[in-house]
């Protein structure tokens, strides 16, 4: 009977560990396959991290973006990720390894422009409410410069707070419509 217990326990434990391992490598692959996001987190601050969204597994938002026409990101080896490709310059943002710090998991992200590293930020993967940011799509603080941009020439329609008929006359939408009429 004891032998049976030892053998079964060993098999069960090994099976569980292997399942965990497999699941873990799958997580790492998904993390490196989706696009990266920029975070303005106060890098290296000793206070609790500001809420930022991590790059790992942000899922729907970033993957749909990468398939909508910006240069597609492709999975690189685990530990680094493809570029976000919004600009046509050689460059982009790359995320490094996930590091465990006393505040939780942190992923270092570097921004590269023209082949040079222009920015290094730390992304907090659990925000100050102890939520795993990997699974939440929360809105986080952003600088104006980091917001997705387009030149007026590339835009076909304008969205703004409800425009009255009179306000419309001087609006950008009117200009566009006039161009298309």
């Amino acid at each position: 009977m004891r032998i049976r217990a030892v053998v079964s326990a060993t098999l069960a434990s090994a099976g569980i560990l292997i399942a965990g391992w497999q699941s873990g490598t799958h997580v790492a692959d998904t993390a490196s396959a989706t696009g990266t996001t920029a975070g303005p987190a106060s890098a290296g601050s000793t206070g609790a991290g500001t809420g930022t969204t991590g790059s790992a597994g942000s899922g729907a938002g970033s993957s749909s973006k990468s398939s909508s026409g910006s240069a597609g990101s492709s999975a690189a080896a685990s530990g680094s990720t493809g570029s976000s490709g919004a600009s046509s310059n050689a460059g982009g943002t790359f995320a490094g390894d996930v590091v465990q710090t006393r505040f939780g998991s942190v992923q270092v992200q570097i921004s590269v422009t023209g082949g040079k590293i222009t920015d290094v930020t730390a992304l907090q993967l659990t925000d100050e409410d102890r939520r795993s940011v990997q699974i939440s799509n929360r809105a986080a603080p952003l600088l104006r410069a980091e917001v997705l941009k387009a030149q007026s020439a590339n835009v076909q329609t304008i969205s703004g707070a409800t425009v009255t008929s009179s306000a419309y006359l001087t609006s950008l939408q009117a200009a566009l419509d006039a161009a298309h009429l």
Binding site: M1, R4, A5, V6, S8, A9, T10, A12, S13, A14, I16, L17, A19, G20, W21, S23, G24, T25, V27, A28, A31, T46, S78, G79, D97, V98, V99, Q100, T101, R102, F103, G104, S105, L125, T126, D129, R130, R131, S132, Q134, I135, S136
Partner: protein
């Protein structure tokens, strides 16, 4: 010379072969249950580590800081899992008690103590090193930073200190220097240690952050363990005490330093059939109420009236400070009861033959077992061991039971030979008798032994040498 038998030694005649074993099914089920519990225990440990693996933790080994941190996290997970297992083992869960018995459960509990402490210490030290390396600090500064900056970490430090206190005082060497009561009080601090360790597990680090499935799993096992503890160690005893309303009815001396305590109560039929299993008694008298006594019933409960009222009896010996006071119990004292626990009963039978051997006050559960365990006439042997015929407590009752039920009875009295490791009295030992001499079918019998530890181990050795397997041996400790 001092051996008396009330029935003649039977010739070692061959019995009709392949007689049906009515306990085979029960035994197989119990072994399966025990194995299942072992598998679950190890699987839970693997599961705790797998939680971390599934989170991609293995990737942390790419840097030195990451490696220290990773091992530290795994050590914490494994340590906490062992702590939860220890709590469950001490919780007197029926599923564990029924499979391996309370004694063995406590044995595993004690064995897990040191490993769990080492793992938790490693958890603290390695994380201080790992986080420190990631931040560029030495481990001590990092430890201070953790205390000061990260919420809930100060509780974790408190918890660590409590754990160390509990394990150190439980070390046998330390335990001997302090009275039982002191050790027990410190041991209760384990609950405080576990509770103070919980907050940081759920608020620090990413593995159990909100939104992860790992958090749900960890919450479930912690809450499950807590619920089991509350139910089986707090609620059930309270319910049993209130239901049975036991009060001491009289205290009778039955020998030198031995008393029988009779109690009256209600619904005692529910406590019958427990054979040699033990209950935990607390006599609610000043100075006595917090001292738990594990004793078996020395007789089946007696039903006196149709309302369920009845009597039951325990027979105890003056062994320590706590039990000495029992002789002075006043009639009318209320009694809190928990149980029954233990595998010294029919539930652990695996063969049709049964051998019951008791020495000193250990005869008590033997008598209870003898009264109820099923056997055919001739399939049971009872051996009573004592210094003198007057030291065979409850001897008359046992004789009467053996006659009524058809069990073979031996009285073995006299001192053991000096310098020899044997359970037998001097003359029998010199004559070369062994356990098999008294029980020809020993290899195919359940052997129930109850008595002082040293003597009992000799009995068990004798049985093993005669070819009896572990699953057939049932030893009830009563001096823990």
């Amino acid at each position: 010379m001092n051996t008396t038998t009330q029935t003649a030694l039977r010739p070692a005649a061959r019995r009709a072969p392949a007689a049906r074993n009515p306990f085979k099914g029960q035994h197989r089920r119990r072994m399966l249950q025990a194995d299942l519990l072992t598998v679950i225990a190890w699987a839970s440990l693997a599961g705790a580590v797998a939680l971390w693996l599934a989170d991609g933790g293995a990737a942390g080994f790419s840097t030195l800081a990451g490696a220290f941190t990773a091992v530290g996290i795994v050590a914490g997970l494994a340590g906490m899992d062992l702590v939860l297992l220890m709590l469950l083992l001490a919780a007197r869960l029926p599923v564990i008690d029924g499979a391996v018995g309370h004694d063995r459960a406590l044995e595993f509990h004690r064995k897990l103590g040191k490993p769990s402490l080492y793992l938790l210490l490693a958890h603290g030290v390695l994380l201080a090193i790992g986080y420190g390396l990631a931040e560029g600090l030495d481990p001590v500064s990092e430890a201070v930073a953790l205390w000061v900056l990260v919420p809930d970490m100060w509780l974790a430090y408190v918890s660590m200190a409590l754990f160390i206190a509990v394990v150190v005082t439980s070390l046998v060497a330390v335990r001997r220097r302090f009275p039982y009561e002191f050790w027990y009080a410190v041991h209760l601090l384990t609950y405080a240690a576990v509770l103070t360790s919980l907050p940081h597990q759920f608020s620090v680090g990413g593995l159990f952050a909100e939104g992860t499935w790992q958090r749900w799993y960890w919450l479930a096992v912690c809450i499950g363990t807590g619920a089991a503890l509350v139910h089986y160690r707090v609620l059930e005893p309270i319910v049993a005490t209130v239901r049975h309303q036991l009060r001491v009815s009289r205290v009778v001396a039955v020998g030198h330093g031995v008393v029988s305590i009779e109690m009256a109560g209600r619904h005692l039929d529910e406590l019958s059939g427990s054979g040699g299993r033990f209950f935990i008694w607390r006599f609610l008298a000043p100075g006595q109420w917090w001292h738990p006594h594990p004793f078996s019933l020395s007789a089946e409960p007696l039903q006196l009236d149709a309302d369920g009222g009845g009597r039951l009896r325990i027979t105890v010996r003056n062994l320590g400070r706590g039990s000495a006071a029992l002789a002075r119990l006043k009639p009318g004292t209320r009694v809190a009861v928990e149980g029954p626990y233990g595998l010294f009963s029919t539930a652990s039978r695996s063969r049709r033959h049964v051998v019951m051997i008791g020495a000193g006050i250990g005869i008590t559960p033997i008598r209870a077992l003898l009264e109820r365990t099923p056997f055919e006439p001739g399939d049971a042997t009872v051996i009573l061991r004592g210094h003198s015929p007057s030291g065979l407590y409850l001897g008359d009752e046992i004789l009467e039971l053996c006659q009524r039920r058809g069990a073979t009875l031996f009285h073995l009295t006299g001192r053991r030979p000096r310098g020899a490791q044997t359970w037998l009295p001097e003359s029998e030992a010199r004559s070369g008798y062994r356990l098999a001499s008294y029980v020809p079918e020993l290899a195919d019998a359940d052997v129930y032994v109850c008595g002082p530890a040293g003597w009992a181990l000799n009995v068990l050795d004798d049985a093993r040498r005669a070819g009896v397997r572990e699953e057939q041996l049932h030893y009830e400790r009563f001096d823990w």
